[in-house]
Amino acid sequence: MKHYEVEILDAKTKDKLCFLDKVEPNATIGEIKSMFHRSHPQWYPARQSIRLDPKGKSLKDEDVLQHLPVGTTATFYFRDLGAQISWVTVFLTEYTGPLVIYLMFYFRVPFIYAPKYDFTTSKHWVVHLACMCHSFHYVKRLLETLFVHRFSHGTMPLRNIFKNCTYYWGFAAWMAYYINHPLYTPPIYGEQQIRIALIIFLFCQIGNFSIHIALRNLRPPGSKTRKIPYPTKNPFTWIFLLVSCPNYTYELGSWLGFTLMTQCLPVAFFTLVGFIQMTVWAKGKHRSYLKEFRDYPPLRSPILPFVL
């Protein structure tokens, strides 16, 4: 069996960082990353970007050496992706924050509102309902992170956790401050408004969960395969006929419900910002579906049926 020689150069300086001889032809990029890690312990595999071209795309861990367009002496370029943190860790941290922070405002922990209100409870029942909904939403997200989601990437850059937590925790505090405020004004249309809002919220929570389960079932455990999602027996997944990323559609719906329930401008603002971000993500995902699958259903829109 003919062995390969692999040399790894720095993508920016073109310095020779590592030379590996007697590499098996069927070695994967992942294995090469481990070998590189041994000679440079500060660059663990998750922060290595290995590419054929200094400015090209990163090669995947699953790519096999002999199937790449390289000679028996292969030259790869390395880029440091920076300190990495696992997706699971980021999700757990960014979702636990809002859960805890909202409850602190709900229970009117001292130093938030005037001292005479410390540890009092709101006289409006919608405030209690809102707390339950908000808490339920984030508990659901935590459980999904632990038991449902199957992540394509193991890690993301470390600075993301600061950015993401600022967003989630900051907005949670801003919303919770007003909803649990002693001078909170309940919805104008009273019980009717709250009931409709609750129905929308619950419907979309179940919908969002159904989509997450459907997406999980597309992918066997431990794999990173990508398939076109289709409607299943669960009616909440039938929206796949019209939309590529119904999880975002349902998420938008949930927050619209919560906005209606609380009639709070900061909540509306949070819903809007989230919607903008999810639309960007949905459009990207829709585009990659179209690129990867020739037979992708043409009727589907990224996030809003027929509209967006």
Binding site: Y178, T185, Q263, C264, L265, P266
Partner: protein, 242 residues
């Protein structure tokens, strides 16, 4: 076979023609825009000088030029559009931040809080802004006309070193002077309870704006310094070759 090749070539020619027309159109518009803005800020400068010469004081000067200032400063918003559609190769965010901070000063501080319009700090930032803008817009104009006098280029990349910090001082002093009047009048503010369940205190908003100069100003300043090094440094190399 041959006819489809011709069709392909004809289509490519048509696309190239479209691109050329678009860039000719863009250049024409940008030239017009920059000449107009240079003129506008020149007019402002002349109005300011005339007022001071005639009245001998700066009191009432802001009021006299407020409308012209509002017009030309607000119109600068189109520059964000220029970056967004790509006819100007600058970052949308950098341009956006700069134009928004100017618009904020004009509309939400100086024009709306009458009691501070006669402050000296207002004159300070007005002078800084007029010199900066005349230099900048005439630089762009000459550049587009491919006839850039050395002095204009020198001014554009050196004046800011002093003008930027002076402008910041003028702006910050003005906002600081406005604070007590904002607090007393409660302008632009919303208190609880209300049906939107939100509150907004313009007084604290202004304080946050002042604090935001701390991270933002160095970034913009160093961006300009880097641009300066790139543009003037390139010039040095050419001279060496000669």
């Amino acid at each position: 076979m041959a006819s489809s090749e011709e069709d392909g070539a004809a289509e490519e020619k048509e696309n190239n023609n479209k691109k050329r027309t678009k860039s000719a159109l863009a250049t024409a518009w940008l030239t017009f825009y920059n000449i107009a803005m240079t003129t506008g800020w020149l007019v402002l400068t002349l109005a300011m000088m005339r007022f001071y010469v005639e009245k001998g004081t700066h009191k009432g000067l802001y009021r006299s030029i407020a409308r012209t200032l509002k017009f030309f400063q607000t119109f600068a918003l189109v520059e964000v559009g220029h970056c967004a559609i790509g006819i100007v190769k600058t970052s949308v965010i950098v341009t956006g931040v700069q134009v928004c901070s100017r618009i904020f000063m004009v509309w939400f501080v100086t024009s709306s809080i009458r009691q501070i319009q006669n402050e000296e700090s207002v004159i300070l930032f007005l002078v800084v802004w007029t010199v900066t803008e005349i230099t900048r817009y005439s630089y762009y104009t000459f550049n587009l006309l491919n006839h850039l006098p050395h002095f204009v280029k020198w001014a554009r990349y050196n004046f800011f070193i002093v003008l930027y910090p002076l402008g910041v001082i003028g702006e910050l002093l003005t906002i600081y002077a406005a604070l007590p009047f904002v607090r007393r009048s409660g302008m632009y503010s919303m208190r609880l309870p209300n049906k939107y369940n939100v509150s907004f205190d313009y007084y604290y908003c202004l304080i946050i704006v002042m604090l935001s100069y701390i991270p933002l100003f160095p970034q913009l300043y160093f961006h300009m310094l880097r641009q300066r090094r790139k543009v003037l440094h390139g010039e040095v190399i050419v001279e060496k070759d000669d």
